[in-house]
């Protein structure tokens, strides 16, 4: 039985929440609880709901689901939405999910998703957030991976007033691979926090974190990534990269890429950069006759493109590509 969501969140004194004072933001809201209603397309045959309103999706053994399963949750003004979803992808199954978060007004969405990936199963999970700029969204995703499981995820955070995306990946089975990518596009007074913790519990696992942020206006971006390699997780390959484009003097970016390693035969590295656009490529493009705006645009598109390329499915990639281009305009 998965742990249900707590109705309150930690304060700043928890190291983990150092940069995101969610309770201060929530204190300004007056919200009433509402039962969340997910719109799920293509999920009917897999779905059950238990007494506690937890939604269960079970993808049976060796089942290959061709069409991506579409999950959508709409936020409403003045509402508090707490929702638990449990997804079991059984051995050898293959499935993709597209999660869309939309809404209008001031609300709080508190979402917990537990994803259990069986041996040899493959899961693609793509999340698109197009929320209201006043809302608060806290989303916790726990992924448990068995032997040789594959997990590929992309999160595009277009707009939410205050967003916290948390990933906890437990690599319990040997030989599993997790590939996480994310793009946060922040402007106005938005706060975007991406917190990732990958636990390498079993040996021969591979994980990659690739997160980028573009910050404009007064926005505040946070990336906290952690690779935790357990004592027995020899031959781990862990990779972490965070590139951040700071485009406004009023914006702030806080990065904390963490390594916690207890095994000696591992390959772990991380890198991070924060700053504005590099001058050299800019100069190159200008010298080829592009005006500053076009050159800038091209460079930002290239910056973003690297993340979107992490999605192998062309249709899904096109969908995300469109949304990102819309934002960049």
């Amino acid at each position: 039985m998965p742990k249900l969501l707590p109705k309150s969140l930690p304060d700043l004194d928890k190291e983990h929440w150092k940069y995101s004072n969610v309770n201060a933001v929530l204190a300004k809201f007056e919200l009433v609880d509402q039962k969340p209603v997910w719109e799920m397309t293509g999920a009917f045959e897999f779905m059950t709901v238990d007494q506690e309103d937890t939604i269960h999706l079970i993808i049976p053994k060796n089942r290959k689901v061709d069409k991506p399963i579409d999950l959508k949750l709409i936020g409403e003004d003045g509402k508090n939405l707490h929702t638990n979803v449990v997804i079991d992808v059984e051995e050898g199954a293959n499935v993709k999910f597209v999660e869309r978060q939309v809404g209008a007004g001031a609300y709080w969405k508190n979402i917990s998703i537990a994803l259990n990936i069986g041996a040899n199963a493959q899961v693609g999970y793509y999340r698109l957030c197009e929320e209201d700029p006043f809302c608060v969204v806290t989303e916790f995703m726990t992924v448990n991976m068995e032997r040789d499981a594959r997990f590929n995820a992309l999160v595009v955070n277009g707009c939410s007033g205050f967003g916290r995306n948390e990933f906890k990946v437990n690599m319990n089975g040997a030989g599993s691979e997790a590939d996480l990518a994310g793009l946060a596009l922040l402007r106005g007074k938005q706060h975007g926090d991406t917190t990732v913790c990958i636990d390498h519990i079993a040996p021969y696992c591979k994980s990659s974190q690739f997160f980028k942020t573009i910050l404009e206006d007064n926005s505040h971006g946070v990336y906290q990534g952690k690779i935790h390699v357990y004592k027995d997780a020899q031959k781990t390959d862990g990779y972490q990269l965070s590139n951040n484009l700071l485009l406004s003097p009023l914006a702030e970016m806080d990065v904390k890429p963490e390594l916690e390693i207890y095994a000696d035969d591992v390959k772990c590295s991380h890198g991070t950069t924060t700053g504005e656009l590099d001058e050299t490529p800019m100069f190159y493009l200008r010298s080829r006759g592009l005006n500053e705006e076009d050159a800038r645009h091209m460079l930002i598109e290239a910056f973003v493109g690297e993340v979107l390329d992490k999605v192998p499915d062309e249709q899904i990639r096109a969908l995300f590509d469109d949304r990102v281009k819309l934002w960049l305009k």
């Binding site: 700071l246 003097p249 904390k256 963490e258 390594l259 916690e260 390693i261 095994a263 890198g271």
Partner: protein, 480 residues
């Protein structure tokens, strides 16, 4: 990787801790415990002015209310502050080196610090802190010729109260953290350095710290001030004898660099790390911070940390002046049950400020070491630049190496880069060295020294040799 033999070898390596002996000098100490009376006793012993006593008492009041910092990745039983002595001083009051107790001199001999020879040959002025009172200072005359003040902090309080009053607590206020606050209340000695305007200090200044009295925590306070255009290089080396109980050490170091001044601060720390079961050893909770107050000033920290049961230490730079520079070079080696949580803070305030962080972490045995560093760019730091590189090397499969960088940027014109890697000594490297005729241990020492080279290069000559030897000794027997 590690075979059963290596454990036995590690024990042997531990027994090689060269500085494990106790000198028998009767000390003049205050009763155990920490209260206002003890602080008054220390202050009276030091013949301190009223303002300093008041400052100590204020710090003590604050200390009682402060929580212990708990964010570091270190574990230890709660510290019983009442179960330690806060003042211990060797009995004789000395004017010249000839009057020093022979037993004391012998201790230094064993440590490889033959004061006169070393001072004469190497041109090093050594201000020796033995327990809490500085017993001898050499080369004082030569330094005073150029106007450099190099003395113990208690002397500075007596002779240069205006400087001490102006600068003490200006970089590390007593409210900073619990350990610095404790130091402010009970500090007994340490060094004071003042380099006047335009003077390049003619020699490397050096202090050797020793903890000698049973259960005496050492609370040094070091204050270094470099006036406009001055330069000084300061060395700090530490060794302590074998001890069963944990000894608390909470030092505070403050550096102030004015316009165009440069301070280079190097540390080799080799305190008793505890035995193979993790029993005993020093708790090393140090607050070190430098203020680049003037434009184009520079502060450089270099440290080689091989000792202590627990190291909690973050030498930092506040880059306030425009174009000022901060550097941090660190090698931290942990073995057996040692724990180290060390790193730096670079706070960029001025325009075009630059900082560079090179941290090398080596873990062996069952130890844990963490690099924890903060790079903070404030809104005014136009064109600031930071480069950080953290590399960890794991030896054996029982140890841990962690990297926790915090990078906070508020200025788009600032450029920040951070890189970190974790690896082990590759079999290829070992094989290559061994087929060239080196033994496995020699090969490991060679590879580790190569791994640390970037940092070692920044140590002054005298220290570099000692540090390289230390690296080899600390790691002996850790590879199977």
């Amino acid at each position: 990787m590690s075979d059963p033999l290596s454990v036995a070898e590690q024990v042997e390596a531990l027994n090689k801790y060269e500085a494990g002996f106790v000198t028998d000098i009767e000390s003049d100490k205050a009763p155990k415990g920490l209260n206002e009376d003890i602080i008054r006793f220390i202050s009276a012993k030091k013949q301190e002015p009223e303002w300093l006593l008041e400052w100590r008492l204020k710090a003590f009041e604050r200390w009682k209310k402060m929580p212990e910092p708990n964010w570091a990745k270190i574990h230890h039983p709660p510290i019983d502050y009442q179960d330690a002595y806060y003042y211990a001083a060797p009995k004789p009051k000395l004017n010249s080196i000839d009057e020093v107790d022979p037993a004391l001199l012998e201790t230094f001999e064993k440590l490889g610090v033959p004061m006169r020879e070393r001072a004469r040959l190497a041109g090093v002025a050594v201000d020796v802190v033995f327990d809490s009172v500085s017993v001898a200072t050499t080369f004082k005359e030569k330094l005073s010729e150029v106007g450099v003040i190099f003395c113990s902090i208690s002397e500075a309080v007596r002779n240069h109260p205006e400087l001490v009053k102006k600068y003490m607590g200006s970089v590390v206020p007593y409210t900073d953290n619990k350990h610095a606050c404790l130091n402010s209340a009970v500090f007994t000695d340490g060094s004071f350095v003042y380099i006047p305007e335009g003077v390049r200090c003619p020699m490397e200044l050096s202090t050797y710290f020793r903890i000698n009295e049973m259960n005496t925590g050492q609370f040094e306070r070091t204050l270094i001030i470099a006036e406009k255009g001055a330069y000084v290089s300061y060395l700090e080396g530490c060794t302590a004898p074998m001890r069963d109980e944990n000894q608390l050490h909470a030092a505070v170091v403050e550096l102030i660099a004015h316009e165009d001044a440069e301070i280079k601060y190097s540390t080799v720390q080799n305190w008793y790390p505890g035995d193979k079961e993790g029993k005993g050893g020093i708790y090393n909770f140090v607050t070190k911070r430098g203020m680049c107050a003037g434009a184009r000033s520079k502060i450089s920290w270099t440290q080689v940390e091989t000792g202590s049961a627990i190291t909690w230490k973050y030498p930092s730079c506040i880059l306030k002046g425009d174009d000022s520079q901060g550097e941090f070079y660190s090698v931290a080696i942990t073995n057996n049950f040692q724990q180290a949580d060390t790193g730096t803070k670079m706070i960029h305030m001025g325009a075009r400020t630059k900082s560079r962080i090179i941290a090398k972490t080596i873990s062996a045995g069952k130890s844990d070491s963490t690099y924890r560093g903060l790079v903070k760019i404030l809104a005014g730091a136009e064109g600031a630049r930071n480069y950080t590189q953290c590399d960890s090397l794991l030896i054996g499969d029982q140890c841990g190496a962690h990297t926790v960088p915090y990078i906070e940027s508020k200025n788009p014109k600032a450029r920040l880069e951070h890189e970190a890697t974790t690896s082990k000594i590759s079999d290829d490297q070992l094989f290559y060295c061994q087929q060239r005729g080196l033994s496995e241990e020699e090969a490991v020492a060679l590879i580790v020294n190569g791994f640390c080279k970037e940092v070692m290069q920044n140590l002054p000559m005298e220290f570099a040799v000692e540090a390289q030897k230390l690296v080899a000794i600390s790691l002996e027997g850790s590879v199977g």
